[in-house]
């Protein structure tokens, strides 16, 4: 298994859609073959269509607010006394998280396919909120599928979705979290694929959805590459790019432009959700050695039992609370280009406390997992080493959880 140079990772799959010969693919019911094929053809045309690209760039700049800031976390670096810690503050994007890139692109695709309805899944509520924003912006009718447990714990984002005119469909099956929301959304699409476009909220699902999402979020690393050069004059010798990984859309977007750099120069570290300390219900298929399986139309490492039933997962962060992961991250893991680890709920919370104590930054619980890893390793690194964390979401949505778990929450 090998990564090819100078070809975007999203395009390094075989004819049947597998990365590294075994990750991804399209395990879908026959009914979805046509809509998936239609979308695949449309996307391959659109991504080479100048006027579509112009439109995308226009909205990325004027609607999403690209580029998002790249800042040094002086106080935190000083406090830890090791590597320089920087943040790519993607949460400054319109809506407060990276999910806006994928949502905007899907809304644009939906429009150009002549469909008036768009549906999507959401865990933390950001994918749903952004899709509802984009739908409103482009005049589409929007339905969001969300686990009943997540609706309760991510209320601020639900309020935003409703305000944008989207209908939230609560999902009561299974663990009532993201995994069930994705299933229900796919089932809805099976029944309505003739009039409705589906947006998968991360780099997961049938091959084409991995590609569209990765293509959209790659904006993050495109900006970052320019910003690093501006800041340092060139690409420094030792960089670690740390990103949380649930489905893996922000991590893919944060890394994609740097895949061809040697690992010794630019290292990728993905941080999964370890769940509550000592919990067996982690959502960390890559770092805790889950087996290859098929979930939501794609083969990837999946938390599951011997019979192939998908495990329930548990994490304080709804956005990472997912038993599967992007096939591209499986590919990056097995080719050893990226390294994956996990942080527990408690570690993410203390990271949140430390970051907000020292910096004017309010990372949501998802990137707090990434900060936990940065904090863990920074002390043992030299001052000329650079850690960049993707602060991919804003903690406003976590208000209720943080109030409950951290007394001095502001």
């Amino acid at each position: 298994m090998k990564i090819k140079k100078r070809i975007p990772l999203i395009d390094q799959h075989d004819k049947l859609g597998f990365w590294g010969g075994k990750f991804g693919g399209s395990y879908i019911p026959e009914t979805l073959k046509k809509p998936v094929d239609d979308l695949t053809k449309k996307f391959s045309k659109l991504r080479n269509n100048k006027s579509f690209l112009k439109k995308k760039d226009y909205y990325f700049k004027n609607y999403i607010g690209s580029p998002t800031p790249f800042v040094k976390l002086e106080n935190l670096s000083k406090h830890l006394g090791g590597a320089q810690i920087w943040a790519k503050v993607v949460s400054e994007a319109n809506g407060g998280a990276h999910k806006i890139y994928n949502a905007t692109v899907h809304a644009l695709i939906c429009k150009s396919m002549g469909k008036k309805y768009i549906v999507g899944d959401t865990g933390a509520g950001y994918a749903g909120k952004m899709l509802s924003m984009a739908a409103k912006k482009f005049g589409l009718k929007c339905k969001i599928f969300m686990g009943a447990k997540d609706i309760k714990r991510q209320k601020p984002n639900c309020d935003a979705m409703r305000k944008n005119g989207a209908e939230i469909v609560p999902v009561y099956t299974g663990s009532q979290t993201l995994v069930d929301a994705v299933s229900e959304c796919m089932r809805y699409w099976v029944s309505n694929c003739d009039t409705t476009h589906m947006c998968v909220g991360s780099t997961v699902g049938p091959n084409i959805f991995v590609k569209v999402c990765g293509w959209s979020t790659s904006q993050i690393s495109k900006e970052l590459k320019v910003q690093i050069k501006e800041e340092f004059g060139k690409i420094p010798k030792k960089i670690k790019l740390i990103n949380c990984v649930g489905g893996g859309s922000s991590a893919y977007g944060f890394w994609s432009e740097f895949v061809d750099f040697p690992k010794s120069q630019i290292e990728f570290i993905g941080v999964e959700a370890g769940g509550p300390k000592h919990s067996k219900l982690h959502a960390a298929p890559l770092s805790r050695g889950a087996k290859l399986g098929i979930l939501h139309g794609a083969a990837s490492y999946v938390c599951q039992n011997n019979d192939g039933q998908i495990n329930e997962t548990e994490s304080i962060s709804a956005g990472l609370d997912y038993p599967g992961v992007s096939p591209i991250h499986c590919f990056l893991k097995d080719t050893k280009r990226a390294k994956y680890t996990y942080a527990t709920d408690e570690e993410a919370l203390s990271a949140y406390k430390l970051v907000t104590k020292y910096e004017k930054l309010n990372p949501s619980l998802e990137p707090s997992h990434a900060f936990a890893e940065a904090i863990k390793i920074a002390q043992n690194l030299n001052k000329d080493e650079i850690i960049i964390v993707n602060s991919c979401g804003d903690a406003k949505k976590d208000r209720d959880i943080l109030k409950k778990r951290i007394k001095n929450y502001v």
Binding site: Y27, P29, V190, C193, G293, G308
Partner: protein, 266 residues
């Protein structure tokens, strides 16, 4: 090869009626009950479909999901399912049996081991919901080698060019999904339209047995009588749920329902 499934269709044709296929979930509501249900409906059914329940089904509606979750909660494992089949097949009134489910369960069990156990327990056919053509080519070939019929699915969204290719690679039975829906949806397309599409398939290959499924209930079944076979699934799962709720024996109620279904297509 594949005799029993073909024979079942032949027999129905001789009686001038479509074959009746039922779908129940293995282990619903318990291992014992699901076997009892199979045994009790067998005399009125031509082919039994038995679902191996998955907890992340992407093509099943509420009724089958409820049955599947109930079976999983009661501890059903794949090896139990083979036991159910084995016992059912010992019944002298048993009928051809098709296992139906999602690919991950086969994948985790191991394709070869799965097919081997299918053969040992006398499974006659397989439907894998999320393994479409052409992805299923290799697996379908393996099935054929083991004398197990791999049943290809067709849907209203399948293009004509694709229909031809899939039918060419299909074995003795194909399954036409009546409408854009998960299982158990309300029939939102007219029977006339469904039969029109069905006839398009039959034109391509008149000899292959084609069944229609999704949205078929006591109310709709007689309008589709012209098909080679008709599958009733969610309506039966719903009856099991209703029986349990009313503290009645699902075996008796399902059996009654299947008798009624059979009478409608005679």
């Amino acid at each position: 090869m594949f005799n029993s499934i073909s024979e079942a269709f032949k027999k129905a044709k001789k009686e001038n009626r479509p074959a009746l296929l039922t779908y129940t979930v293995a282990g619903d509501s318990t291992k014992k009950k699901s076997l009892e249900i199979l045994n009790s409906i067998s005399k009125n059914v031509d082919i039994c479909e038995l679902g191996f329940p998955h907890n992340t089904p992407i093509a099943d509606g509420g009724q089958i999901q409820t049955s599947a979750y109930r079976a999983i909660k009661n501890g059903i494992k794949i090896r139990d399912i083979f036991q159910i089949v084995k016992k059912f097949k010992k019944n002298k009134y048993s009928k051809p049996l098709i296992l139906m489910g999602y690919y991950n369960m086969i994948y985790q069990y191991g394709e070869n081991k799965f097919l081997n156990d299918c053969k040992k327990s006398k499974v006659d056919g397989l439907i894998v919901v999320d393994l479409p053509w052409p992805e299923n080519k290799n697996f379908a070939k393996k099935c054929k080698k083991n004398s197990i019929s791999f049943i290809q699915l067709l849907s209203p969204t399948t293009s004509k060019a694709r229909l031809k290719k899939i039918i060419k690679d299909s074995h003795n039975m194909i399954y036409y999904i009546s409408m854009l829906s998960t299982t158990g949806g309300k029939l939102k397309v007219s029977p006339k339209k469904i039969l029109f599409n069905y006839n398009e398939i039959k034109k391509i290959s008149p000899k292959k047995n084609c069944v229609i499924g999704f949205g078929i209930t006591e109310k709709t079944i007689d309008k589709l009588k012209k098909a080679d076979g008709l599958v009733v699934g969610s309506a039966i799962c719903k009856e099991i749920t209703r029986s349990l709720k009313n503290r009645q024996n699902p075996v008796i109620n399902v059996s009654k329902m299947v008798t009624k279904l059979k009478n409608k297509i005679l």
